[in-house]
């Protein structure tokens, strides 16, 4: 989350000395929480069975990492998420562009997308299991399907809202339909398409983890559910931590990618 602009007036600043002091080390509250958790758990003020001290969770993470099990599960979840995202982008972006440019496609898909957008796609899990079995195919396809809706809708809106004057000038200068699509429309809509993909990154990981929890096998979700069955809360928390870090890393890496892809765009030069 980027920090909002600090527009507080002088009076407001002077009034919040405490805020000023804390502002230098905003991470203190996280440390305080971790220490409080550690101490409370060690002194059994909170049930250490349900919330084991963080140091013991880290220790467990190290143990599983050494056994290479964690890496195996992490790789499973990561590969499934990436496969689903690739599929979702490969299907969703062309469909969104087609909806914006071709009237019959828009007529058919617009109501389906607007109807499907608020529907919890995870509800389709039993159908995907029936059609594609318990393994990778159903997990990847359901995740790709769930992620497709926001991507299609962002691409459609972004492409539709491309400045008409830009398109007209390009046409006037003799740009053919292919070049118009690739060199003008697609680039003008790129920021909104990328935003659509960014909103979908955490959703992809959550749905992959969820389907792994529902079906077992490999992956962080399966590891979490299996550990939960034996009330091994430390391992559950290691799994949750690993999934969170993966999501965080993916979001940050994509922000970098966006900056590189949109190097020509004013949004990049404005933040640099």
């Amino acid at each position: 989350m980027s920090a909002p602009p600090e527009n507080a007036s002088g009076a407001e600043r002077a009034n919040s000395r405490w805020g000023e002091i804390l502002s230098y080390r905003p991470i203190y509250s996280v440390l305080a929480l971790l220490i409080a958790w550690e101490v409370a758990s060690r002194l059994a003020l909170i049930n250490p069975y349900f919330l084991p001290p963080p140091s013991m969770v880290i220790e467990r993470a190290y143990q599983i990492l050494l056994g290479e099990k964690l890496l195996q599960h992490l790789a499973g979840t990561l590969l499934r998420s990436l496969a689903a995202l690739a599929l979702c982008i490969a299907m969703g972006v062309p469909l969104g562009v087609a909806m914006a440019r071709i009237a019959p496609v828009r007529w058919f898909f617009d109501p389906l997308i607007s109807l499907g957008l608020p529907v919890p796609k995870i509800a389709l899990w039993p159908i995907f299991v029936l059609w594609f079995g318990f393994f990778d195919t159903s997990k990847i396809l359901l995740t790709a399907f769930a992620c497709a809706f926001p991507v299609v809708s962002a691409t459609y809106l972004g492409t539709r809202n491309v400045d008409k004057f830009v398109v007209w000038s390009a046409l006037n200068l003799g740009t053919g339909p292919h070049r118009l699509l690739w060199k003008v429309v697609f680039r003008a809509a790129a920021p909104e398409i990328l935003t659509g993909i960014q909103t979908v990154l955490p959703i992809a990981i959550i749905i992959v983890v969820l389907t792994e929890m529902l079906s077992g096998g490999t992956g962080l979700g399966a590891m979490i559910m299996y550990a939960g069955r034996f009330a091994d809360i430390k391992t559950v928390l290691v799994g949750v931590l690993a999934a969170s870090l993966m999501g965080y890393a993916m979001i940050k890496l994509f922000e970098q990618l966006r900056r590189r892809l949109l190097a020509w765009h004013q949004e990049t030069s404005a933040t640099a």
Binding site: P4, P120, P126, I233, G239
Partner: protein, 251 residues
């Protein structure tokens, strides 16, 4: 005329239903994989008439409404407070930033051990899963309020309490409300996820169980119902939003 156009807009849905029916009737898709649309509708009608489905819907909606309402009330309060009070912001923002990418459904096994398998479990999953996005969206909304509005009000002698209720909240309301719309559809995802992971009641559990028992028409009927619930809640909320923001459109 506009009514006609509005109903014509959803004609592709009829096309999909007809295509579904024909694909199974013609044998292109095996009825073992996809029961006919008309059969699913007949089962849906039976399940509705026997009150089997309405009971599950009631259980699910109760859980969803409690979890969602708690998340909205606490989330908006915390988000707006963070935007107004720097100390609260400094203390909570790192926690919010760190907690944001945590997949709350993955905490399910811990929550099961802590609260057991009853209504509270689903409610807590919904609350925990949707509170952070609500905090972030209402924080951004209150933070984004035009500073000139706040400054002129302060210049005119508005106290901090009046400032909050008469200036900041009304100005941030449109964005807060559209953030809550995201929370609403998220709450249905969390509800269905929590019911599939472990619950004996509720529409999500019903759909999963029907699939496991080979009662496929019932499974499709229940899943269609979940879809309709999510869609109907979203449209109802949009209507409510329009009423709440009526004063704004008159400008």
């Amino acid at each position: 005329m506009t009514r006609l156009a509005a109903s014509g807009r959803y004609a592709p849905l009829l096309l999909v239903a007809a295509g579904w029916e024909l694909a199974v009737l013609s044998g292109a898709i095996s009825p073992n994989l996809l029961p006919r649309f008309s059969e699913v509708m007949a089962t849906l009608w039976d399940l509705l008439r026997s009150f089997e489905l309405p009971r599950e819907i009631g259980v699910s909606l109760l859980r969803q409404m409690i979890g969602f309402t708690l998340a909205v009330v606490i989330g908006v309060a915390v988000g707006v407070t963070m935007a107004r009070l720097r100390l609260v912001d400094r203390a909570l923002r790192p926690l919010v930033t760190l907690g944001y990418p945590v997949p709350v459904v993955a905490l399910f096994p811990v929550l099961v051990l802590m609260v057991g398998l009853d209504h509270r479990l689903q409610i807590i999953v919904i609350l925990l899963g949707s509170i952070l996005p609500t905090i972030v969206s209402s924080f951004n909304a209150a933070r984004g309020v035009d500073h000139y509005l706040v400054w002129s009000a302060r210049n005119l002698g508005t106290g901090s309490r009046r400032m909050l209720w008469k200036i900041v909240i009304p100005a941030a309301l449109p964005e807060i409300l559209s953030g809550i719309r995201t929370t609403l559809s998220l709450s249905f995802v969390l509800l269905v996820a929590a019911e599939q992971l472990g619950a004996d009641r509720g529409i999500g559990a019903f759909a999963l169980r029907a699939g496991q028992n080979g009662f496929y028409t019932g499974m499709f009927a229940a899943i269609l119902t979940i879809g309709l619930m999510g869609f109907a809640a979203d449209r109802l909320y949009l209507a409510l939003m329009r009423i709440l923001l009526r004063w704004q459109e008159q400008e």
